[in-house]
């Protein structure tokens, strides 16, 4: 079976620093894959290049058996690929419900007139219910706690009914209870058929949730294996602990 997403030879430099160095990996449909690595190993750059937020210098990307020649966030979202960010990006002045509604591309005139299709509104309300945010539906998103904003961002990307969701450090800066909540939501959505690729530093979270675990070091994968295998791989230990 062909992979859902294939990155081949992705290369990206910033000045003299090669953040991605002919980086290749594949994401199988139905997996919860992790992308880990020490600071500066290229994880977020890989996300940015795959999702079209930064252009690659070289390399090829295939998603759902289609070559993605110039990745563009909006086009990719329509194709079924969505992402979140390390720092949750929400519209603080819009209500929580409006934030979720905007997760699906809306015609501009619908937004201006506040006329969002009823089906979208109901779907957004269902998502808020699922993520425990229904009580805050009318509240400006800026008033939510940081952890709640992360959940809101996750709920918002689900509005577009993606098949692959890239989560960039979903547990960063949130308390242990919220980490468990986040994990539960990922598991539930995975059970419903969504494939995940997760960049994360919280290793216990990664090791109990993800398989395979792809390890980047200096812009290229050094391991791609089951959690236990990665934990015992001396190359991975060298990458994390230094030479």
């Amino acid at each position: 079976m062909s992979p859902l997403l294939a990155a081949e030879g992705l290369t990206k430099s910033f000045g003299g620093i090669r953040a991605l160095d002919a980086c290749s990996f594949e994401i199988a449909e139905g997996s919860v894959s992790a992308l880990i690595g020490p600071n500066g190993s290229g994880k977020t750059t890989a996300f940015n290049v795959i999702t079209g937020y930064q252009p690659a210098d070289a390399g090829r990307l295939t998603f759902r058996d289609r070559a993605v020649r110039r990745p563009d966030p909006c086009r990719l979202q329509r194709l079924g690929l969505a992402r979140t960010f390390q720092q949750a990006r929400v519209f603080p002045g819009l209500s929580v419900l409006e934030n979720v509604v905007l997760g699906r591309n809306q015609p501009w005139h619908a937004l201006l007139r506040g006329r969002v299709p009823g089906t979208d509104r109901r779907r957004a309300e269902d998502l808020l219910d699922e993520f425990g945010l229904a009580a805050h539906a009318g509240v400006p998103a800026g008033r939510l706690s940081y952890g709640q904003r992360k959940l809101l961002e996750f709920a918002s990307v689900l509005m577009a009914e993606p098949v692959l969701v890239l989560l960039d450090e979903p547990t960063a800066g949130i308390n242990p209870i919220m980490v468990k909540t986040m994990e539960d939501h990922i598991r539930q959505r995975h059970a419903l058929g969504i494939t995940f690729l997760i960049v994360e530093h919280e290793m216990k979270f990664v090791m109990r949730l993800c398989d395979p675990v792809i390890v980047l070091d200096r812009g290229r994968p050094i391991a791609c294996a089951a959690p236990e295998e990665v934990q015992n791989d001396p190359r991975v230990l060298d990458a994390y602990l230094g030479d």
Partner: protein, 238 residues
């Protein structure tokens, strides 16, 4: 110099969240203690608590046996605790010399500051060699060396370094770590927070591994270098 540092039961964080959750850490006088741990484990927060940038919600900080919990950064600096941050902190549009003089900004004795700067220039030759150059024109390793030189203007007995190896190429890293070892041989107490765990432990007397806001392992640095438990903590093995 008998300026050991001791942290007991430190709870600290930002906003409503706790990053440090009852941390105990000993930094014996005159030795290098290397604090390592995965991202987000709270290493930089420990430094902020020690240097007074973050007041702990609970716990005690003791310097040479004296309770200094919650003291301001200025008070800590006056009592000999200096903090070298991770990010580049030189003023790039000022000369190297002026940057070094800034290290003694709390001193009002201009002559003493000039004398001390001359001593620093002897100890750190780059300060003399590049004194008129803009600090922003130096390489990363040179900037880190000048930062350390600047910190030494007040001759602090306690030095806290936040990831001094960050962004340095291997040769510059060896230079900077060599300087740390020299400062330690003067009898200074050094806390070294380091992402490059093996390099940091290699020059340290003691090591501690932080995970989720508490010290999980503390031992002589040489023991930690060989301990498989360190890798397990980094990679989330139970």
């Amino acid at each position: 110099m008998d300026a050991g540092l001791e942290l007991r039961g430190i709870v600290a964080g930002y906003g409503q969240g706790d990053i440090l959750r009852g941390l105990d850490l000993d930094m014996p006088a005159g030795q290098i203690t290397c604090l390592i741990g995965p991202n987000g484990s709270g290493k930089s927060t420990v430094l902020r608590v020690i240097s007074g940038l973050l007041a702990p919600r609970e716990g005690r900080v003791r310097l040479a046996g004296k309770n200094v919990t919650g003291w301001s950064p200025r008070a800590m600096l006056t009592h000999g605790v200096a903090h070298v941050p991770q990010e580049r902190s030189l003023f790039p549009a000022m000369s190297v010399w002026d940057n070094v003089l800034m290290g003694a900004y709390i001193s009002s004795d201009g002559d003493a500051v000039e004398r001390r700067a001359a001593e620093i220039a002897q100890r750190f030759p780059i300060v003399a060699r590049r004194r008129h150059d803009l600090a922003g024109s130096l390489s990363g390793g040179e900037q880190k060396t000048v930062e350390i030189a600047r910190t030494m203007m007040l001759d602090p007995p306690v030095l806290c370094f936040d990831e001094p190896s960050a962004g340095l190429e291997p040769r510059a890293l060896r230079t900077v770590f060599g300087i740390l070892a020299e400062l330690s041989s003067d009898g200074r107490t050094i806390l070294l927070v380091e992402q490059n765990a093996r390099s940091g432990l290699a020059i340290a007397h003691n090591g501690a591994v932080l995970d989720a806001g508490i010290v999980r392992l503390a031992a002589p640095a040489a023991e930690l270098l060989d301990s498989p438990d360190v890798g397990r903590l980094y990679l989330g093995a139970s």
